[in-house]
Subunit: 151 residues, 2 copies
DNA sequence: TATTGTTATACTCTATAACTATA
DNA sequence: TATAGTTATAGAGTATAACAATA
């Protein structure tokens, strides 16, 4: 008879909590006419001067082949534009258009407010400690990921 | 000039920590020949006598139309089978086949061990408090989700 | 009438690899 | 040769709605 490893309940709770957040978040994102990946890109480009697809992929965890499609669809909607990278003839800069910037300025605060309402019942004194607890957990996981890549 | 709401860093940390977990987990799941959704179904059916698609969808958060396809593909691989529900002529019971059960018994412990290695660097004294912190956060989010559905 | 599960549609994301054009 | 990004391919999940069988 095996014993359940002691870390499993924590992992389950992490997954469930994230899923609870996703339910709150994704529904609202879709109601704005964006997919989660598209929202991620718009949110990442917001308040920047744009960046190349490589950086964008690293920040959003979207691989380059997929990112081309995501950016294509955002460009079709008139939310982002591709500009040549003056420093590298192979490269480009993806940035929000004026319309994309306007969307970001409207939609992002609305989304933040939506999440804020969902967290209204959460004791604000616990915000910091919870964040710190997650941070330590993440550090362990990322360290493992790095070690794994080397193995 | 706006102030960043105090809960945003926590939310960001939740998302990043989950993504770090996913990187550790999803790579291993795929190496076993299952997609995340398929693994989720197999793990949910493991150690049960099977359940109907409705319950399965509720536990895995997969909607019914999608679940039909996921179960189809698992059935093609010989890992699950559909049995008529003796209590309800409309319903069915999805359960692991012997092969599916064998896979579960091999693959699930391997996956747990993989995650365990990734968490080797995490202070075990923090397991409980971190889990509890997440639980409280999840409660707030789920309470909000319920309230939202009523609105 | 309401519910269970399937089917159909259309889209999006995913992984992978071959390809181009620059560097 | 190596890198940035696109294209091609095949598969899988998503939302949504219409549908058949049963309750």
């Amino acid at each position: 008879m095996k014993t359940t490893p002691p870390f499993l309940p924590l992992v389950r709770e992490l997954v469930r909590t994230y899923q609870a957040f996703e339910r709150v978040s994704a529904g609202h994102v879709r109601s704005m006419g964006l997919t989660p990946a598209q929202f991620d890109v718009v949110a990442t480009l917001g308040n920047t001067q744009g960046m190349n697809p490589k950086q964008l992929g690293e920040k959003t965890l979207i691989t380059k082949g997929t990112l081309t499609g995501v950016v294509d669809r955002l460009a079709e909607k008139g939310l982002v534009q591709r500009l040549p990278d003056p420093r590298d003839g192979r490269g480009q800069i993806v940035r929000l258009t004026a319309q994309g910037q306007a969307l970001f300025e409207t939609v992002f605060p609305a989304h933040v407010a939506h999440i804020g309402r969902a967290l209204a019942g959460f004791d604000s004194a616990r915000l910091g400690p919870t964040q710190q607890a997650l941070h330590l957990l993440r550090q362990a996981l990322e360290q493992a990921g790095g070690a794994e890549a080397e193995a």
